[in-house]
């Protein structure tokens, strides 16, 4: 069944668990689970390669309209400026109300980039890139 995207909520906070500040103004979001794939094929093996997972991580990118007073922006900016003092957790509810384990993902992350752009006849827009520094949990 298809799921409408506009009900997605993207929350930011400084500790793990429920709650957080919903980021405002976003109209595009993507997340990606990435894993290194290690080739484990033996020299004297069969005709097919064998592989296994190496290290994995999780990345998030999102963009939308800039909102200067938004609390979530403050958390992201603080993390970018001083990540050792300002933890950042992202909790994304993809299907609100879907039930435990099916609703979304949470991860501790670092702000990799924070870009603001403006065209004179348009709006001030912002884009964020985040990368994980913990394992990903479902909720």
């Amino acid at each position: 069944m298809a799921t409408a995207a506009h009900t997605i909520s993207i929350l930011f906070k400084t500790t793990a668990g429920a709650g957080g500040a919903a980021i405002a103004g976003m109209n595009d979001y993507s997340m990606s689970f990435n894993g290194d794939i290690l080739d484990t094929t033996a020299f004297d093996g069969g005709a097919f390669r064998t592989k296994m997972h190496g290290l994995r991580d999780f990345s998030i990118s999102m963009s939308g309209d800039y909102s200067s007073t938004d609390a979530a922006y403050g958390l992201i900016k603080a993390n970018f400026l001083d990540s050792s003092s300002n933890n950042l957790f992202c909790r994304v509810s993809l299907v609100p109300g879907a039930g435990v384990g099916n609703e979304g993902f949470e991860v501790q992350c670092l702000c990799e980039s924070f870009e603001v752009s403006a065209a004179v006849d348009g709006k001030v827009e912002v884009s964020f890139s985040l990368t994980s520094i913990s394992d990903v949990s479902s909720f």
Binding site: H6, T7, S9, A22, I23, G25, M26, N27, D65
Partner: protein, 132 residues
């Protein structure tokens, strides 16, 4: 939001007339004992579809359009044109409470001819953007 009325109030603030006297939000009214010949009408003309944001609060970015029709006195083409240009300047980049941005879509008012009773008429199209 009521973009037509909000724009009419803005034009009043800009000194182009008085709402409900010679500036109206709504359809054009013919001149009469109660309605001046020289009037401005702000008419809702729809707009772009709302752009939803990714959140549970159902907020959207909206872009509405309002047509501003400037009617002049009979034989007063130049005066009506000046008034339409003043309205155009007042609309472009206007700061209107509750709106993110207000733009005019023409660099010069459209002269659409004389009405049935020979009043010169100009039109402008305003774009009013808000988040809500």
């Amino acid at each position: 939001m009521t973009p037509d009325l909000d724009l009419a109030n803005h034009l009043q603030t800009a000194g182009l007339g008085t709402v409900a006297t010679d500036i109206f939000a709504g359809p054009m009214k013919p001149p009469s004992a109660q309605i001046s010949q020289a009037c401005i009408f702000c008419i809702s003309t729809g707009g772009l579809p709302p752009s939803p944001y990714l959140d549970a609060s159902t907020s959207d970015y909206n872009v509405a359009t309002v047509q501003v029709l400037v009617r002049g006195d009979v034989g007063a083409y130049a005066t009506a044109q000046t008034k339409a240009n003043t309205a155009r300047a007042a609309i472009q980049r206007a700061t209107v409470a509750g709106y993110v941005a207000v733009y005019v879509r023409e660099s010069n008012p459209n002269f659409i001819g004389l009405d049935d009773t020979e009043h010169p008429m100009f039109t402008l199209n305003a774009e009013m953007q808000w988040k809500g």
